[in-house]
């Protein structure tokens, strides 16, 4: 099968992540999950290219992305907990203290 049909899958996942961020108006945990989905879709992209090109550096890149994504989501959750402590809500609608 051609490389493009695999790319459809990973790009679809990426777009799902982007849509989730833009159309989600309710809570931040879902947004965190969407960011993870985006990073994983990019990972899949790297792996597809890596097998297609028979080159190892894509796999190394994807392993590193996995690690960074884990660190990123842990920081995100920590920020979320802090935000909940001060505001008592994690809804996006109330994230409007800082406006011009």
């Amino acid at each position: 099968m051609h490389c493009i049909s695999f790319l459809h899958c990973s790009l679809l996942l990426f777009l799902l992540g982007v849509w989730g961020i833009f159309f989600n108006r309710k809570n931040i945990v879902v947004m965190l999950m969407c960011i993870e989905l985006m990073l994983l879709a990019v990972n899949l992209n790297f792996l597809i290219f890596s097998t297609y090109l028979d080159d190892l550096s894509g796999q190394i890149f994807s392993l590193l992305i996995l690690t960074v994504a884990a660190a990123e989501s842990s920081i995100g959750l920590a920020l979320l907990v802090m935000y909940y402590r001060t505001r008592g809500t994690i809804s996006i609608e109330y994230m409007n203290l800082l406006k011009g």
């Binding site: 490389c3 990426f14 992540g17 982007v18 961020i21 931040i28 947004m31 960011i35 985006m38 990073l39 879709a41 990019v42 992209n45 790297f46 597809i48 290219f49 297609y52 090109l53 080159d55 550096s57 894509g58 190394i60 890149f61 590193l64 992305i65 960074v68 660190a71 990123e72 920081i75 995100g76 920590a78 920020l79 979320l80 802090m82 935000y83 001060t86 505001r87 994230m95 203290l97 800082l98 406006k99 011009g100």
Partner: protein, 497 residues
């Protein structure tokens, strides 16, 4: 077998800073929790210790024997350009800590992690400007952003600070996702991740315009540029910057507006001028468009702002537009003028934030937040008011000051590269932005309600020195900008050869 045996010598400054920040962390954790010492706050000690660490790293960087070498299987490039940027980054970090020592005390901040995070993010920026591979670049970029998310939210009990941190996190993570997608397409097209390999590849593929891969090249470049412009807070992707910079504590805002611009520009120049120079026709229009939009947003966005920090953010977006203008010339003069502008920008930003951090009302304990709060300044602190005026004139580009020199040089380089329309837009926005700089001055000097007088907290010595030295530089660099220009020209020439 000796893996990377000699490579570790070359990255000695980075290794030193890494060890030093871990030691700072250990020190902080042990002493801040020790009951026998009464759980001390440690902010003052830690800030001086981190300044010393950064200064020693600066010494190591400046005395490096290396002029051009590639280490760690081509993932880091240590050359004069990266030394130049490392100097600016370390200097900016030192100054931004130095100007906020008093702020930590008066605002009762007790989180020493702040300084460890500043050191670690400085380390990541040092690695970022040295990176020579997509993988090392991504890792350094992510390390920098992760430190910044936490720094923005470092005032844990403030609603504004936590909200700023969370907003920064969500948008920053999104932008790095998009950036990574661009990287993955680039990898898929070429099978390469090294910058030098990209340069060789694109130099050979001169007919890539006609192949069916061209659309993928376009998509990849669009996404990578989007990621970079987002991190720079250039115009179509600037919307997060005012919110984050306003919500974060002022010391963090100063750090954010001085240092990361340098590191991102450093890696941007390296990637685009070194690897993708052959494809300049593809990415130059994007830079031009973003630069023009930044100029206009910087000029017009600031009109509606009443808060000082937001206004300064818009002004820095405007300055970014001038730097992008210099960058989009694609010539040595353009690069040189952009590097010189970067130096002038750092001097002006250090100056203005030192002034803003110094002003705290003695009676009410309020910091100045609104532009209107400046109206008592000319009476109670005439010298600070004078320094403010000097800086705003310089930012607006009024002749006997450094800002004029910087702008003039950028315009000159852009005219040389026949970017006439861009220069016209830049001139127009420069004139428009004079308006809001003058509004500051109007509030300070021409607001006659002299019944109330406000006393401010006395400024500490470091800030007084900083303000006076940078004020001196603002005037001096207009009359003798030779050193700055020679230095930036040397770096630009070495780089483009």
């Amino acid at each position: 077998m000796h893996f990377f045996q000699n490579d570790f010598y070359f990255v000695l400054p980075e290794l030193f800073l890494f060890g030093a920040s871990l030691s700072l962390l250990m020190f902080g954790v042990i002493y801040s929790t020790s009951v026998s010492h009464g759980k001390p706050g440690l902010m003052k000690v830690m800030s001086w210790a981190s300044i010393v660490c950064l200064a020693m790293t600066l010494g190591l960087v400046l005395n490096t024997p290396v002029h051009s070498t590639v280490v760690f299987s081509q993932s880091l490039l240590l050359d004069d350009l990266s030394t130049f940027f490392k100097f600016l980054i370390l200097g900016g970090s030192i100054l931004s800590i130095l100007m906020s020592v008093q702020y930590f005390e008066t605002e009762n901040m007790r989180n020493f992690e702040y300084l460890v995070l500043v050191c670690l993010s400085t380390l990541s920026m040092l690695l970022l400007v040295a990176s020579y591979d997509l993988i090392s670049m991504y890792l350094a970029l992510e390390m920098q952003s992760l430190c910044f998310y936490v720094l923005a939210a470092s005032q844990r009990d403030s609603e504004f600070s936590t909200e700023a941190g969370l907003k920064y996190f969500l948008l920053g993570a999104f932008s790095s996702g998009v950036f990574l997608l661009g990287c993955s397409f680039l990898y898929g097209l070429t099978g390469l991740t090294n910058f030098e390999a990209y340069a060789l590849f694109f130099a050979q593929q001169s007919n890539i315009y006609q192949t069916s891969d061209w659309i993928f090249v376009q998509i990849a470049f669009l996404f990578i540029l989007l990621g970079f412009l987002f991190k720079l807070s250039a115009a179509p992707f600037h919307f997060w910057a005012p919110d984050v910079y306003e919500g974060a504590p002022t010391s963090v805002t100063a750090f954010f507006s001085i240092v990361p611009k340098v590191s991102i520009f450093g890696v941007f120049i390296k990637l685009f001028f070194c690897s993708f120079y052959e494809l300049a026709l593809l990415w130059q229009p994007v830079i031009i468009a973003s630069g023009m939009l930044s100029l206009l947003v910087g000029a017009f966005g600031a009109f509606a702002q009443k808060k000082i920090k937001r206004l300064l953010v818009y002004s820095s977006i405007g300055h970014l537009g001038y730097m992008l203008l210099g960058l989009s010339c694609l010539t040595i003069e353009g690069l040189q003028s952009m590097l010189a502008y970067l130096i002038f920008y750092i001097v002006m930003t250090v100056h203005v934030f030192a002034c803003v951090l110094a002003l705290k009302d003695l009676k009410t304990g309020q910091r100045i937040r609104y532009v209107e709060d400046l109206k008592y300044l000319a009476q109670s602190q005439p010298l600070v008011a004078c320094a403010f005026v000097l800086n705003f004139f310089s930012m607006a580009g009024i002749p006997p000051l450094a800002g004029f020199c910087a702008k003039f040089y950028v315009f000159f380089a852009a005219l040389g590269a026949s970017l006439y329309f861009f220069v016209a837009v830049a001139l127009f926005s420069s004139i428009v932005s004079c308006f809001y700089y003058l509004r500051f001055i109007k509030f300070m000097y021409f607001h006659k309600e002299t019944s109330v007088s406000v006393e401010y907290v006395q400024m500490d010595q470091q800030k007084a020195w900083m303000i006076s030295i940078t004020s001196y530089l603002l005037v001096y660099l207009f009359f003798c900008p030779t050193n700055v220009f020679l230095w930036s020209e040397k770096v630009a020439l070495l780089f483009l050869n």
